[in-house]
Amino acid sequence: MNAMPPLGEPASEPVATSAPGQEAAQEADRPAAPLGPGRETLHYAVRNPKLLIGLGVVTVLLLTGLFGPFLLDGADPHAYSGTQAAPPSGENWFGTTTFGQDVFAQFVHGLRATFLVGVIGGGIAAVIAMLVGFFAGYRGGVVDEVLTMFTNIVLVIPSLAVLLIVNAYLGVRSVPVQGLFIGLTSWPWAARAIRAQTFSLRTRDFVDLARLSGSRTWRIIFREIAPNMSSYLFMTFILLFGGAILIASSLDFIGLGPTDGVSLGLMLQSAQQWSALQLGMWWWFVPPGVGITAVVGALYVANVGLDEVFNPKLRES
């Protein structure tokens, strides 16, 4: 749902382009820098609590999603195995649904789907955003006008509304297809941000040099421009990743989720559909919500940590 992170674009803007004022602050640092830039980043990274906590939570959940299903002997999460509507117990850690399905088994499989849709949706959106953003920002002129116009058009249309129509008509059977459609609709804000970054980088000396030496456009973009904003691109991907998860959970909840499979959003949907709320079966709707919130929240917090690591201005205080 929160397809676009409410983090404010300019807040992370100085990441790729070191502002002139920054130089003065670093002046005292520089002669004393026996560490290379990579090692210096690592130095701050392993000391940043936000990054560590965020990544820690994401890692734990990811491992749960990856290996959890194997520990459950690959049991079918839809199997009507236990007692019906049982609260959490030693046997069913998260209790069971009205039909006797194990909530924990569904949760573990759902986490997997959540990460999968995030990777696919966020990845596709990031690729489109980079292609559009780099090309528009680097070429400028008419190319830029057209691409920016197109970006703005897609940006204004609520992506969930488009996905509703697409999913309703075409039907979405699997998580990867859902991720694909999400990726195709959620790239515009990122394209705009990357375009702005590229725009500010393209007049730099090293880019001029590459241009003068006859490098082709895409070569310059991938050899000179992209590496200089790699941290920014990575953070954009993280935000797209989190956004894709939230959109997917909304679609699942409305009833347009993948028809075969388990996901945290679908769990919420069936809990809603079968009145878990009225029946007081909190163990049915609390875990999936906690799962989504934890993954997305941890990603956002890790992102803030990354911003502090990459951006010296934010480090102190």
Binding site: M4, E13, I165, V166, S250, Q272, L299
Partner: protein
């Protein structure tokens, strides 16, 4: 100024054309004969409805005619306000079904969006000033933005509705009364409105607070703030300037977040069974009422475009640079 608006309007008109085109095109991607496919997928009980659907689809899409003619025809009936007949509540026209649900969605969204924006910005500005607040507002903000809208809705319904029994958790008004312009209906509707409003408000709030806090800190780090500090200007003045500058991107942010907020409102309505567009969409999906779905989609797009335009107007009033930049100079 005129150029600025002409440009904005162009984007909006193109967006509308794009949205209508998407709406027209997607049914065409359905495998097989689209008309039969759609009719067979629709869960229609009345035989008249099947006939009406077939007739409408044939009339609307006219698959026997050339593609450009089909497309123009689609536009023609659209501009006459003809969205077709709803299958779900056959034979009501889609437009009147939507207009009946619209007030509820607006009553939910407009206050939630505006209030969350104002309160969020205020909280964010406060957080940027005090370390203690910052350490509470920031984590709370991230927690709230990471929550799926429907989940916080479910939690509130469970805690404040089902458990505490303070608020009803379903519907826009009690089942035993009819919507009328009476005080009784109003208080009843208000009672039903609180929880959906609150859940929408809370999730949006977190985002605005974080955005504002980050923007203010960015502004306080900016050169113009350092310059004022170097000249000994009091913190009060520096913060006032920073706040003013930081509000501007938040206004743009409002326009950018509209789609997300609409999506949030839709799923929140579904949780509370609130009789707005969200519940309409759910019904349309469950009943395979494609006309209704497509009509709702276009209404949402139009609504977002209008809201965008209003925000553009506000921005021009608030940011002096847009005005002078256009009057000349630049």
């Amino acid at each position: 100024m005129r150029r600025y608006f002409a440009r904005k309007l162009l984007v909006y008109v193109l967006t509308f054309v794009f949205a209508v085109t998407v709406n027209w095109m997607i049914p065409r991607f359905m495998p097989g004969d689209p008309v039969s496919a759609m009719i067979s997928r629709a869960r229609v009980s009345q035989p008249e409805a099947v006939e009406a659907m077939r007739a409408y689809y044939n009339e609307l899409f006219g698959f026997d005619r050339p593609v450009w003619e089909q497309y123009l025809h689609f536009w023609g009936s659209l501009l006459q306000g003809d969205f077709g007949l709803s299958i779900w509540v056959f034979p009501q026209p889609v437009s009147s079904v939507i207009l009946g649900a619209l007030p509820y969605t607006l009553a939910l969204m407009v206050p939630a969006v505006l209030l969350s924006w104002f309160v969020g910005n205020w909280l964010g500005a406060l957080a940027a000033r005090r370390k203690v607040l910052d350490n509470t507002v920031l984590p709370a903000g991230y927690l709230l933005t990471a929550m799926p809208y429907m989940w916080i809705a479910v939690l509130l319904a469970w805690l404040l509705g089902a458990k505490a029994g303070w608020f009803p958790v379903s519907g826009g008004y009690s089942l035993d009364i009819q919507p009328t312009w009476t005080w009784h209906f109003f208080t009843d509707a208000l009672h039903h409105w609180v929880l959906p409003f609150l859940s929408l408000f809370l999730v949006a709030l977190g985002g605005w607070a974080i955005g504002m806090r980050n923007m203010i800190i960015y502004e306080l780090e900016a050169d113009h703030s350092s310059y004022l500090s170097a000249l000994g200007a009091p913190q009060r003045l520096i913060r006032r300037y920073a706040f003013r500058n930081a509000v501007l991107p938040q206004i743009t942010g409002l326009a950018l977040q509209l789609g997300v907020l609409v999506a949030g409102a839709l799923v929140t309505e579904i949780v509370f069974n609130y009789p707005g567009l969200g519940s309409l969409i759910l019904a349309a999906i469950q009943n395979r009422d494609f006309f209704l779905l497509q009509g709702t989609f276009l209404f949402i797009v139009i609504g977002v475009l209008i809201a965008n335009f209003i925000i553009d107007l506000v921005y021009v009033v608030v940011d002096p640079r847009t005005r002078t930049g256009m009057a000349g100079g630049r």
